[in-house]
């Protein structure tokens, strides 16, 4: 371990689920969150696959960390993630081909999800497989939680129902609709939220809400001096 890491209090463990959520606080991996969240089912499915890939890839990186040289670690991370992403894509094509089609390019794009790279760089590359697995589980679950909630909110307000695409989760190519739950009057649908600018504005509002609701990060106690190598991990302006 280099000297640098001693000074940094890294967010880890359970706080990654909400307090240091990769999407809401770190603002990482936003592309899939914006792109597939128009429907709750696709959002939750992509979140779940990302969770699985994160856990497997981070654990693998942790196991293989002695083999990966520091200089070439990014290539290693990407390679390992790409292996699991490709496997997930192939498996999904076998059982849930319509879901695979609905996710489109965003399924292969999991392999360059910055949230996964971030956990590998911060935790998996530097710790034993056990902690790395828990860390990846927490981060991936935080991602899954946000993308599912965001997807259901967007679907609810734009179509007045949720779970409209539930058929995508049934193995095989089911064409009949199953189990949609209508909640709002269809005449008062918010088309805007289903469109791309709506996704950006809703995500912005969700991040603002998280900034208000989530407990503030404790102030640094000051027993470590920030050095020029101080690793900055938070991109929001909260201190």
């Amino acid at each position: 371990m280099s000297d640098m890491t001693l000074h940094v209090k890294r967010p880890s463990g359970a706080s990654l689920v909400l307090r240091h959520n990769v999407v809401l606080i770190m603002l990482l991996g936003l592309t899939p969150v914006l792109a597939v969240s128009h429907s709750m089912v696709t959002a939750a499915a992509l979140g779940l696959i990302t969770l699985l890939v994160t856990v497997l890839a981070c654990t693998t990186v942790s196991i293989l960390r002695a083999l990966i040289t520091r200089r070439w670690r990014l290539a290693g991370f990407l390679f390992i993630t790409a292996v699991y992403t490709t496997a997930a894509g192939i498996l999904l094509q076998i059982s849930h081909y319509p879901l695979f089609q609905a996710l489109g390019i965003y399924l292969p794009l999991i392999c360059c999800n910055s949230a996964i790279l971030f956990r590998m760089e911060i935790c998996a590359f530097r710790s034993r497989p056990g902690p790395a697995l828990l860390d990846a589980l927490a981060a991936g679950f935080g991602f899954f939680l946000v993308i599912s909630v965001f997807g259901s909110l967007r679907e609810l307000f734009s179509t007045g129902a949720i779970l409209a695409d539930l058929r995508l989760l049934v193995p095989g190519s089911q064409t009949e609709s199953v189990g949609a739950i209508s909640i709002l009057e269809p005449s008062q649908n918010f088309m805007f939220i289903n469109l791309q600018p709506g996704a950006f504005i809703c995500l912005g509002l969700l991040v603002a809400l998280a900034n208000v609701l989530l407990p503030k990060r404790r102030k640094d106690t000051g027993n470590h001096k920030p050095t020029s190598e101080h690793l900055r991990v938070r991109v929001t302006q909260r201190h």
Binding site: F190, M191, F192, L195, I201, G204
Partner: protein, 355 residues
């Protein structure tokens, strides 16, 4: 003897933001009056509701941002946004639509960008476009002009307008829908018959009274009203001629080029594009918003040409019934890039310097 050292400027302009905004509202009065004359009370109700909500939201947002609400409310910019929004929305909008548009305009388009002076996009047009793409159906019904059946200025018409604004007054969704169907019509831009015509000329030839509510000269007279208001603003030096002139010339030129004398229903006559549509309102009142428009003289001309092209092309080939709001938002988006290529040359420097 004491010398008081003070920094420039030594001459103060007599016009403050507060006064400019008041004069803009004043200049809207002819247009609003003519609208009310032909189409009843809906627009006035819209404007009143939007003003009350905008002032409340503005005060709330200012308080949240730690500014002194009373002092900043006095600049009247929220009132101008509300008046323009009230004019732009269909006069049969329900109160919650006006509320949504005002929230989007004041909270998201204005204060989340940093308040007056920082907003990239014109708040009123953001609120309007937000409603247009969220509720395209609600936004495409326009109040039919008054006729023999009822007098747009009468008490009965006021009662109908109030029912449209507050649906609970109408007593049930069914009667509300019937009322809406009775009062609303599609925008005249969708109707090739009226698209080809020139209602004012027809009225003059037929010796009809231009101001009789049944004469269907309403839309064109409203444009005249906004043209008069815009000329007042020009005369008062509140806006410069560059933006309105370049918008109107571009729209007129495109309309002349594409005009088809055999079948004017396709693209409409140049007259329709200038006077049968909100082009005047957009060119004089909305595109000239000092915050979101370009500021250099050449920049203003370019900005107007871009907006004019967008107005014509989105109106003629786009899917939405009208295009002024989209065109102005696109112009706002371009404004900062326009400024970069139209920086005036500093006196004494050699050639143009673009950094």
């Amino acid at each position: 003897m004491s010398l008081i050292a003070s920094g420039p400027p030594y001459q103060f302009a007599a016009c403050s933001t507060n006064r400019i905004m008041l004069e803009v509202i004043f200049a809207c009065i002819p247009g609003i009056t003519i609208t009310t004359w032909f189409f009843g009370w809906g627009t006035l109700i819209n404007i009143t509701l939007a003003c009350v909500m905008a002032l409340a939201l503005e005060a709330g947002m200012l308080a949240l941002r730690g500014r002194a609400p009373v002092q900043h409310l006095r600049d009247n910019s929220a009132l101008v946004t509300a008046v323009l929004l009230g004019i732009a929305l269909p006069s049969i909008s329900a109160w919650w639509m006006i509320a949504l548009a005002t929230v989007f305009a004041i909270v998201i388009a204005k204060h989340l960008y940093g308040g007056l002076g920082q907003n990239v996009f014109n708040p009123a047009m953001c609120g309007y476009v937000f409603l247009l793409i969220t509720f395209p159906l609600h936004m495409s019904g326009w109040h039919a002009p008054g006729g023999d059946e009822y007098n747009p200025l009468g008490l009965h018409s006021l009662y109908l307008s109030l029912q449209m604004t507050f649906p609970f007054l109408a007593g049930g969704a069914e009667s509300y829908r019937e009322l809406a169907d009775g009062l609303a019509m599609a925008t005249p831009l969708l109707d090739p018959g009226s698209a080809a015509g020139n209602a004012i000329n027809r009225a003059l030839e037929g010796n009809l009274n231009l101001f009789s509510p049944g004469a269907e000269t309403g839309y064109e007279m409203i444009s005249m009203g906004y043209l008069a208001g815009g000329l007042f603003l020009l005369f008062r030096n509140i806006i410069s001629w560059h933006i309105p002139a370049s918008i109107l010339v571009t729209v007129a030129a495109l309309a002349v080029v594409f005009y088809n004398p055999d079948d004017p229903g396709i693209y409409g006559t140049p007259w329709l594009h200038l006077f049968g549509t909100p082009t005047m309102l957009g060119a004089f009142f909305i595109a000239t918003d000092p915050v979101s428009a370009a500021t250099t003289p050449r920049g203003k001309l370019l900005y107007g040409v871009i907006i004019g092209c967008c107005i014509y092309s989105i109106r003629s080939w786009g899917a939405y019934p009208d295009s002024v709001a989209f065109a102005i938002l696109f112009g706002n988006f371009c404004a900062s890039f326009i400024e970069r290529v139209t920086v005036p040359t500093v006196y004494g420097s050699r050639g143009r310097q673009i950094k």
